[in-house]
């Protein structure tokens, strides 16, 4: 997980929302600390993702990490991709409208969406692209292949796909 994580502040709310949707599927128990963890992540993305080298004197010796920071890091390029799709489709620059339309692509818990006049869903190709981006990013973060696939599936599952 040594690759530097970059983050566009403008997309933080979208990243956060998509990460919540993914965590609902992947690790719902972590949602109870989601806000604090996301706040820490955006302050120091690299630090929250890196495993500490300290070996505690009277500890267990475990490496128990929340998956939340990794999910936030994985969905960040995905959100960028979604923004670019919506921008291309609507000929709009990044702004409230685009964000609203991107947000409309997220599959909420009850499966509804709220934005009007927006692209209703990703095409199959676009969904495969999302899956590939998430999978690659997960591998870059040092996540195992098996877990990376699961997370990539969870990310795709978090957005609307046509058909």
């Amino acid at each position: 997980m040594s690759e530097r994580v970059t983050q566009s502040n403008g997309d933080e709310d979208l990243v956060t929302e998509l990460a919540r949707v993914v965590l609902l599927e992947a690790a719902p128990e972590e949602l109870v600390l989601f806000d604090e963890t996301a706040q820490e992540y955006f302050l120091d993305p690299e630090g929250t993702l890196e495993a500490g080298s300290r070996e505690e004197a009277v500890g267990f010796g475990l490496e128990l990490a929340l998956i939340t920071p990794a999910v936030l890091a994985i969905v960040t390029p995905v959100v960028k991709f979604l923004v670019s799709i919506v921008s291309d489709a609507t000929k709009e620059e990044v702004g409230p409208v685009v964000k609203q339309w991107v947000r409309a692509l997220f599959r909420t818990r009850d499966g509804t969406e709220t934005a009007p006049a927006a692209p209703q869903a990703l095409t199959l190709e676009q969904a495969q692209q999302v899956r590939r981006i998430a999978h690659d990013r997960a591998l870059q973060l040092g996540i195992s292949e098996k877990k990376a696939l699961l997370l990539a599936d969870a990310v795709v599952g978090g957005v609307m796909v046509a058909g």
Binding site: E30, E56, A57, G59, L62
Partner: protein
């Protein structure tokens, strides 16, 4: 008699027996204390060093004044010399006590600093790791934690904190009465998970319940505090360009800090295993903790990093959970590390207690106090480890002879003695250690360990009859044996410097005492109780079995009657030797020769006791040395009875006083000789039954006693001049060569400034001269001729020491008058020395 190889009980339809290794206190707990003592006593050295820096000049002035006219020391009247020594001690006691106070202050600073660091550590940990109380939405986590704390028997529920996202591992910290457990967020949100949360929290609660938190953090705190304390002398030496002791100090300090670090981490790894086993106790806990421990990343390192890892390798954690008996086997490193740290501390305590007791009339207690400060911890650690291994092996796989841990103790005690800060610049002029003393110390330490292991085997045979684990007896026995070892070697250390004959005489005088005889009797009682309670068959005691059948490795045992018989047999051989000797030599001349004959018989009784130890250690695998602890006094006392019968038959009176006069040194010396001899228990010899034992006893007793009588010189047979030339003059002349070499080295450096010259005189010359003085003082001439010759040597050495001391003071203070006086005294001493050499030459040519 059947073979003594362990025979497993039938295992058909049995459930594998899982030993409860936690039924004994962990040796690692005591090892932590040894480690702390080693760290704190390092502060003694620094305190003494600060003393020399601050008021060393005043101390030297007072000591020189108290020393007075060296001529007053050369009297041949022992009583006058004793009175002179008492007066000197009283005169120097104020400055000596001040020196002791500095030393103790150094230790106090280390301990206090470590304690303060321990108390401050929790706040620092909370601040630096950004730990916070659990948020309200994780109330369920707190509830589950409290419930698990109740199940694990922790008296006061530790405070539960949660770390930031970066925190990935749970850990415990805090101080007694207010422990805290920090959880990573993943663990906190997984509080419903029996697979993660429960074993993780139970493991941490086990650390709290077993006081690991205090041990670990105190050791770490003192270690950190000690670094600046140890750096002070080194920094000062460099700042003042006085490098006289820097290298000797630096390697010792670095070695101590490195060893302490490695030992701390090793102990932490052991405590992790024990916390795992504790957390595995609840139903279903073992599988869960095993799965979690196997997934850990900490400790999964190789090479040198393995030595400083604070967690065991995951595979090893799983293996110990599967087979807890693995944890109960003491290793070479256990013995090495514990003995090293104890031996490092012992001379430092002697160096601090000695000055504190100067002039009190209790200076003789110095080495006893030091042995009591270190020996019980070393012995308790070794004792409880070996006894636990013995009893656990009865229901799991048998263990071999404890040669690994024994050799570890023998090696560690020698290395620790050499590396002790107290010996900085004082080993000898040439920098070479006293190899004879160290070799004896090593063998005695190996023997002491084998002895403790032997009694542990005897008591393991008695375990089925015990209602609870006899760990307290293991600690008491180990503490007694090792305190005796350390005390006696410290007392003998100076005697060895004065030759074999002096050592024999001083050993009898100094160590043939009632307290030591009482220790011998106490140890014999320990062994006898074990022998009486020994049972050849199980079932295993309930306290030893965690789960499964109470399966027991049955082992034939020697009963008390046979042990007594073997002791009597060995004693009978000694009596036969005594009678033969009396028949060959005839009656002694009343007076000195009769006294010497009595001493000879006392030593004979002691050697026969040691012979019983040797025979049983070799003849009875595993428990032989322990059994011999009961048989050895029987053998010695049998010789005593033989002596009393002989004496009475020849017209003597068997008074109570005579019995006491014989029994006291015989039992004490028998124990002292028996300790190193017990090392023979480590030899891989398999016994063949009682006949074999009896034959071994007879052969060992006969060969040892006959050999002893043959080599022991009878003082009346050796001409006084010969004895003086070989026993006193030759060693003094050898030491004089070393003095010449040191002087040559000093004079060959024209660039040395006055401070450096003074420092070299103190470091290189004075220790050797004082050693020569002590050697000369210890000799008691037996005729007028050697007395007159020897008086010249005593005068010369005393004057020479005073001359160099005065010159050192002169170089330090720039006092030209003192320098002139020092040179005058040196010339005077050399004139005496030349006179003595001429007299020696004359004596030598006449005896030739």
């Amino acid at each position: 008699m059947a073979t003594l190889v362990p025979v497993p009980a039938p295992k058909s339809e049995s459930v594998a027996c899982r030993p409860s290794v936690l039924c004994y206190p962990s040796p690692s707990a005591v090892q932590f204390l040894v480690l702390l003592v080693a760290l704190v006593t390092a502060g003694l050295f620094v305190g003494n060093w600060v003393h020399n820096l601050a008021v060393g000049g005043d101390w030297q002035r007072v000591v020189a004044e108290c020393n007075g006219d060296p001529g007053t020391w050369t009297t041949s009247d022992p009583e006058q010399r004793r009175q002179r020594q008492v007066a000197f001690d009283i005169c120097t006691s104020p400055v000596e006590r001040r020196r002791a106070a500095f030393s103790l202050a150094g230790a106090g600073v280390a301990l206090l600093g470590g304690t303060v660091a321990l108390l401050v550590a929790p706040r620092r940990v909370v601040r630096r790791r950004k730990l916070k109380p659990l948020p309200a939405q994780l109330a369920g986590c707190q509830d589950r934690f409290t419930a698990l704390a109740g199940e694990s028997g922790v008296r006061r529920v530790p405070e539960l904190l949660m770390g930031p996202t970066k925190l990935r591992d749970a850990f415990s910290f805090g101080v007694p009465g207010h422990y805290q457990v920090a959880l990573p967020r993943k663990a906190a949100v997984s509080y419903r998970s029996q697979a993660v949360f429960d074993p993780l929290v139970l493991h941490e609660l086990a650390h709290v319940a077993r006081h690991d938190v205090t041990y670990a953090w105190l050791a770490i705190s003192v270690w950190w505090v000690l670094i600046p304390i140890m750096l002070f002398p080194a920094a000062w030496s460099m700042a003042t360009f006085d490098f006289s002791i820097l290298s000797e100090f630096a390697w010792r300090a670095l070695l101590l800090l490195a060893v302490v670090r490695v030992v701390t981490d090793r102990l932490l790894r052991v405590r992790e295993h024990e916390a795992d086993l504790t957390a595995a106790l609840p139903s279903g806990g073992r599988a869960r903790i095993r799965a979690l421990a196997s997934s850990s990343r900490a400790g999964d390192v190789s090479g040198w990093r393995r030595a400083i890892a604070r967690h065991p390798a995951p595979a090893l954690r799983a293996a110990v959970l599967d087979d807890p008996a693995r944890l109960a086997r003491p290793t070479y490193l256990d013995g090495l590390a514990t003995a090293f740290l104890a031996a490092v501390a012992m001379p430092l305590v002697v160096g601090a207690v000695g000055p504190a007791l100067t002039g009190t009339g209790a200076a003789e207690l110095t080495r006893l106090v030091a042995a009591l400060a270190v020996g019980p911890l070393l012995g308790a650690s070794i004792g409880v480890g070996l006894w636990r291994a013995s009893v656990v092996s009865r229901i799991s796989s048998p263990v071999g002879r404890p040669w690994q841990v024994s050799v570890g103790v023998g090696t560690g005690i020698v290395l620790g003695d050499l590396a002790s800060l107290e010996h900085t610049g004082t080993l000898s002029v040439s920098g070479t250690p006293d190899l004879g003393r160290l070799a004896l110390l090593a063998v005695a330490a190996v023997g002491a360990t084998a002895l403790v292991a032997g009694v542990g085997e005897v008591w393991a045979d008695a375990a089925p009859a015990a209602r609870r684990p006899p760990w307290a007896f293991a600690m008491i026995l180990g503490a007694t044996v090792f305190t005796t070892l350390l005390w006696s070697q410290a007392k003998l250390g100076t005697s060895l410097d004065h030759g074999w004959d002096n050592m024999r005489r001083e050993t009898q005088l100094l160590l043939g005492s009632w307290p030591l005889a009482a220790v011998g009797a106490l140890l014999a009682l320990f062994a006898l109780v074990g022998v009486i309670g020994s049972q050849p068959a199980g079932p295993a005691p309930a306290w030893l079995v965690e789960e499964g059948d109470r399966f027991w490795f049955a082992r034939p045992v020697l009963n008390a009657r046979r042990v007594l018989l073997l002791g009597l047999t060995s004693g009978a051989v000694g009596v036969a030797v005594m009678l033969g000797y009396r028949a060959l030599q005839g009656a002694p001349v009343p007076g000195v020769e009769a006294g010497n004959r009595f001493d000879l018989y006392v030593w004979l009784a002691a050697v026969v006791g040691a012979a019983a130890m040797l025979a049983l250690s070799v003849g009875v695998p595993y428990s032989g040395a322990g059994i011999a602890l009961a048989a050895s006094p029987v053998a010695s006392l049998t010789v005593m009875v033989g002596f009393l019968v002989l004496n009475t038959a020849l017209g003597g009176q068997p008074t109570a006083g005579l019995v006491a006069e014989f029994a006291r040194p015989a039992l004490a010396l028998g124990l002292l000789l028996g300790i190193p001899v017990a090392a023979a228990a480590l030899l891989p010899i398999t016994a063949q039954g009682l006949r074999f034992h009896a034959l071994t006893v007879v052969v060992a007793a006969a060969s040892l006693t006959l050999g002893f009588v043959a080599v022991l010189p009878r003082p009346s047979d050796v001409p006084p001049a010969d004895a003086y030339l070989t026993g006193v003059a030759a060693p003094l002349l050898a030491d004089a060569t070393a003095v010449d070499a040191a002087l040559l080295k000093l004079n060959s450096d024209p660039t040395a400034d006055p401070a450096a010259i003074a420092s070299r005189i103190r470091a290189d010359l004075l220790p050797l001269l004082r050693s020569m003085e002590a050697r000369a003082d210890a000799y008691e001439p037996t005729d007028d001729e050697t007395a007159s010759v020897h008086a010249v040597a005593v005068t010369s050495l005393s004057t020479m020491a005073r001359a160099f001391n005065l010159q050192a003071v002169a170089y330090e203070t720039g006092d030209a008058g003192a320098l002139d006086e020092g040179r005058r005294l040196y010339a005077e001493a050399m004139a005496d020395w030349t006179r003595w050499r001429v007299a020696i030459a004359a004596l030598s040519s006449r005896t030739a």
